[in-house]
């Protein structure tokens, strides 16, 4: 918050620290996309810039939303998103192919992206409604499992393993913070060990292969392991200071696949080295910490849970992407928010941040007495 007599009050009340951080990350992302295109604003950087600033404006505008409004739209938003997911599924059934997009004329909507903030808000709203004494009862658990499980399954069969995992993790985080008993989290972990091999059997061929490759990346260095191998080469060869702007050979010579989308971090690390990587991770950490602070300072249970869940969404995005790029997780197709080229990730993250800004504004403006 900037307090100055010159700057108008509404502007001064914006969380400038967050906006600077996010804009900084996005600008760095543009620089990387500029390099990934071989030193050109086209085709990625210019579009990405437009998308980012548009959603930044939307996020800032969202910050004037009242908590009560957010609460009110939580369930309808969830319902709408679920309907859209079903629509995508039906469309995919008709066209006999994988379908993630809903083509609405000028824009293509990916409903699974909306599901990330929607599931967080819905679960937060649900646990706000659950009476304190009921929290460890079965009836506090099964509706949440249903609310989370249905969209997760719908997204999984699209198939979009990455988004499914992020949605699940976001929901589970809210449930964890809501105070569900420990066994609820311990039991599935144990069950996972049993079920995982069975689930593996039901996976699509390419999903199976990605997991195989993760477990043993050297098994197929020119096939499915290629992504991880080339990504590690890019990051490792960057060293501490990197090869320099526009001098990354892995990305410029196309050895690094998806160097402007999912593997943009490798493109960055090759040119900016460990220093650039650590700075970027630090910037994301500050954004997430800001969101967690909003949660800690929240005065309502809904705000607490929603803020923590929304921050967790950003966290899972970043963490899963970076683990994947560095060979610590299977390749599941999660982009690095604000840096990877593509509108949907920017949209999701900016929606989350807009909601967080709104919740933060409440803490400052709404009198404790009311």
């Amino acid at each position: 918050m900037i307090t100055s007599a010159i700057i108008p009050r509404p502007l001064a009340k914006l969380p400038w620290r967050l906006i600077f951080l996010v804009t900084g990350i996005a600008m760095f992302g543009l620089v990387v996309l500029y390099s990934a295109a071989g030193g050109s604003m086209h085709p990625w950087a210019i579009k990405q810039a437009m998308v980012f600033f548009a959603f930044l404006a939307i996020a800032v505008a969202m910050s004037w939303m009242r908590e009560s409004t957010i609460k009110a739209i939580a369930f309808p938003l969830y319902g709408m998103t679920l309907v859209m997911l079903l629509g995508v599924e039906a469309l995919g059934f008709v066209s006999k192919g994988a379908q993630r997009w809903l083509d609405l004329g000028p824009i293509k909507l990916q409903p699974s992206e909306f599901m990330k903030p929607a599931i967080v808000l819905t679960l937060a709203r649900f646990y706000e409604l659950v009476p304190v004494a009921e929290i460890r009862k079965w009836r506090a658990i099964w509706p949440a499992m249903l609310l989370l499980g249905v969209p997760a399954v719908l997204i999984l069969v699209q198939p979009d393993l990455g988004t499914c995992i992020v949605v699940l993790l976001c929901g589970v985080t809210v449930m964890f913070l809501a105070g569900l008993p420990w066994w609820f989290f311990a039991a599935p972990a144990a069950a996972f060990a049993v079920v995982a091999p069975i689930a593996y059997g039901f996976m699509h061929g390419y999903q199976k292969k990605r997991i195989d490759t993760f477990l043993n990346p050297d098994s197929d260095p020119l096939g499915a392991g290629y992504h991880i191998a080339q990504s590690k080469i890019a990051i490792g060869s960057g060293g501490i200071w990197g090869k320099g702007f526009l001098h990354g050979s892995q990305s410029h010579l196309d050895y690094l696949p998806e160097g402007h989308t999912d593997f943009v971090f490798a493109t960055m690390a090759e040119e900016w080295g460990l220093v650039g990587g650590v700075l970027l991770i630090l910037a994301f950490a500050l954004v997430i910490r800001w969101g967690m602070r909003v949660s800690q300072n929240a005065r309502t249970r809904f705000a607490q849970l929603a803020a923590a869940g929304l921050s967790a969404t950003v966290f899972f995005y970043v963490a899963i992407n970076l683990m994947m790029v560095m060979g610590l997780a299977p390749v599941v197709g999660v982009p690095l928010p604000l840096v990877s080229y593509g509108g949907s990730a920017v949209m999701t993250v900016m929606l989350c941040l807009g909601l967080l800004m709104a919740l933060e504004r409440q803490q400052r403006t709404v009198s404790r007495l009311i």
């Binding site: 304190v132 004494a133 929290i135 460890r136 985080t173 964890f176 913070l177 105070g179 008993p181 080339q230 590690k232 080469i233 890019a234 990051i235 490792g236 060869s237 960057g238 060293g239 501490i240 050979s249 892995q250 010579l253 196309d254 050895y255 690390a269 090759e270 080295g273 460990l274 990587g277 650590v278 991770i281 950490a285 997430i288 910490r289 967690m292 949660s295 800690q296 249970r301 607490q304 923590a308 967790a312 966290f315 963490a319 970076l322 683990m323 560095m326 610590l328």
Partner: protein, 637 residues
């Protein structure tokens, strides 16, 4: 817990506790990521930098020029001849099938070649050339270069093919080169150089054993390429290093002379410099023509060579073993003198020798002979008698010290060393006691005795010098120190005198040098291969070639101050003095009087029907006709 009432306070405590847990987990993941990145970028930086560089930079190899083989005077034995080749650069190729059919027209490519080119093209990476044709005649090369603008992706260039000026005369010496086989490629850890079109490696002989020196270091155009094989930019080229030149001790002219003088016989000749062991000539004839091999040899050519009973695919100087026959006698005489036999002692030769119930023959009735006469006239009965008296134990060591059965360190993959038997060896190898007839057989170089022509020349060198002369073929190899042999100088002088007598008035009187002031000393040998009766042996025409005796001769010259030693073994040549001795005579003459020797050779070649190349061509044509094959088109000059 179930019975406890959960209040708002509980809930808020749970929330902040779990928030701390979540924050801690997030921080831990953040730490893990930074740690992982540090590990990749610092600890493993070197490894990944290497991998990144090997991704980025690719080498279009330029094969090194193969090193030359030159003779002792710098005359080339194996060189590289400029040749023209046509390649396709897949990346620059537009409308491949049309270009290939155009090339097929221009170069007269056979259909299976077109099929190979199409296959290799589909498997190639963008910047790696695909060979279309090797050794293209200049007219076709010119036809391609003129049409270059309408043939995008076609590269016509000058390359090199191996050329041996002396042709088949050096075949067994140098071996040949050819494209690497799959096994050779695997053996060299998939050296990419071996896959380049037109790269040949040594397959046989010196070309193979000297491969590390001759090959050189490939250079290449370093290029930056994308993952899809598209060339981005050219970097500094890596210069290639030509293979090293190897100088041999061979005198190319002498070698070729001896090879031609062998004529249609199946023989090997070895000429050595007795002062340092230098091998001056070592032809083995007939031989394959290594020039044909470096272009790739056809099934028919191969069949013709392997069918030939004169064994053109075997280096007879090193790989074939023969009984030494009487050439062993000077060394035997030395052993007898060493054992205390008086050289004046007379043995009466009746033409036959009785041992137990077996009769050993002499080639004629010599009457009373002493040691000198026994050597000069090659009397077998003398050696049977004296050697039995002394015993094999005292004979074998002397013969071995003269070079028979000895292994020499020469740059050839296969050498056979033969045997000089003794009682201990007999027990080890055949599990039987040494018998008197073994001594009798060994005394005239028959029985178990087996030698190769190089050992025969070495023996001549050692008899000439009394020193342990060791053959040498590579000029840059230091001359082995020649230690004194354990022989009495007086005995040696006697033996040399006797060997002079062999040529002057003995069995090899026909082999007197046509030179004034230079006299040769030598010893003939006739090695039995089959038990022929005396009458059959006298009349060679009645015995088929395969049954005839081998003809041997060894000599050194000049007899009073030895400088050169020469030996030959002519397979199934008949009586030693008749074929082997004149061959040595002419070869040695060449060392002193070239015009005289060449005149003799011309007369000789005329008598057998033309030069080596003419005779080879005629033989090939006859073979093709006999095997129902169409005649070959005349060879291009």
């Amino acid at each position: 817990m179930k019975h406890m009432r959960i209040t708002t306070v509980h809930q808020s405590i749970t929330f902040s506790r779990r928030m701390m847990l979540l924050g801690g987990a997030q921080a831990a993941v953040g730490g893990l990521l930074v740690g992982r990145m540090g590990w990749l970028a610092i600890a493993q930086n070197e490894k990944y930098q290497l991998l990144s560089e090997s991704n980025r930079v690719q080498l279009i190899p330029v094969p090194p020029r193969r090193g030359w083989l030159i003779d002792r005077n710098g005359k080339p034995i194996a060189i590289n001849k400029a040749s023209f080749r046509v390649d396709l650069i897949p990346q620059q190729l537009v409308n491949g099938p049309q270009i290939i059919s155009k090339l097929q027209q221009l170069l007269n490519l056979p259909p299976d070649e077109v099929e190979r080119i199409t296959r290799e093209l589909s498997q190639s990476r963008g910047f790696q050339p695909v060979s279309v044709a090797d050794n293209v005649p200049y007219e076709q090369y010119a036809a391609i270069t003129v049409r270059m603008p309408e043939l995008p992706g076609v590269a016509a260039s000058q390359g090199f093919t191996r050329f041996y000026p002396a042709g088949s005369a050096v075949g067994q010496l140098v071996g040949y080169v050819g494209p690497a086989s799959a096994a050779e490629y695997e053996k060299e850890n998939k050296n990419p150089l071996l896959l380049i079109p037109g790269v040949k490696i040594g397959k046989e002989g010196l070309e193979k054993t000297l491969e590390p020196v001759l090959r050189g270091e490939p250079g290449g155009q370093r290029v930056e390429v994308t993952a899809r094989g598209k060339l981005v930019k050219e970097l500094d080229p890596k210069p290639d290093r030509s293979g090293g030149t190897v100088q041999l001790t061979i005198d190319a002219d002498l070698h070729e002379y001896a090879a031609r003088r062998i004529g249609d016989q199946s023989a090997a000749v070895v000429v050595m410099d007795v002062t340092n062991g230098d091998i001056l000539a070592m032809p083995s004839m007939p031989s394959f023509n290594p020039n044909d091999f470096s272009d790739g040899i056809s099934q028919n050519e191969w069949k013709m060579l392997s069918d030939n009973d004169h064994l053109p695919l075997v280096d007879k100087a090193l790989e074939s073993l023969y009984p030494s026959g009487s050439t062993i006698k000077p060394s035997m005489a030395l052993a007898l003198l060493n054992a205390g036999i008086d050289r004046k002692q007379i043995v009466n030769c009746s033409g036959a020798f009785q041992l137990g119930n077996h009769t050993f023959h002499c080639d004629k009735r010599h009457g009373p002979v002493d040691m000198d006469a026994a050597v000069v006239h090659s009397c077998d009965v003398y050696f049977y008698t004296m050697c039995l008296r002394v015993g094999a134990e005292k004979l074998s060591p002397m013969v071995r010290s003269m070079g028979f059965g000895e292994k020499f360190d020469l740059p050839f993959e296969t050498q056979r060393y033969g045997t000089i038997p003794d009682p201990e060896w007999m027990m080890r190898k055949y599990h039987r006691k040494w018998q008197g007839y073994d001594t009798v057989n060994m005394s005239i170089g028959q029985g178990m005795v087996l030698i190769n022509p190089l050992q025969l020349a070495t023996m001549a060198s050692r008899l000439a010098t009394g020193k342990r002369v060791i053959p040498r073929l590579l000029k840059n190899k230091p001359v082995a120190p020649q230690t004194q042999l354990a022989v009495d100088e007086d005995h040696l002088a006697f033996i040399r005198k006797a060997m002079w007598g062999v040529v002057d008035h003995g069995t090899a009187a026909t082999a007197k040098l046509p030179l004034s002031g230079i006299q040769m000393a030598g010893k003939t040998g006739t090695a039995q291969t089959h038990n022929l009766s005396a009458s059959e042996r006298g009349d060679y025409t009645s015995a088929t070639w395969k049954l005839r005796d081998h003809s041997l001769f060894m000599a050194f010259v000049p007899f009073d101050n030895p400088r050169y030693a020469c030996a030959t073994i002519v397979e199934h040549g008949g009586f030693g003095a008749a074929v082997a001795a004149p061959l040595v005579r002419d070869t040695v003459t060449f060392l002193y009087d070239k015009p005289k020797a060449i005149a003799a050779l011309q007369a000789f070649e005329q008598s057998i029907g033309g030069t080596l190349a003419e005779r080879e061509a005629r033989k090939e044509a006859a073979w093709r006709q006999a095997n129902g094959l169409p005649p070959l088109p005349p060879k291009q000059a």
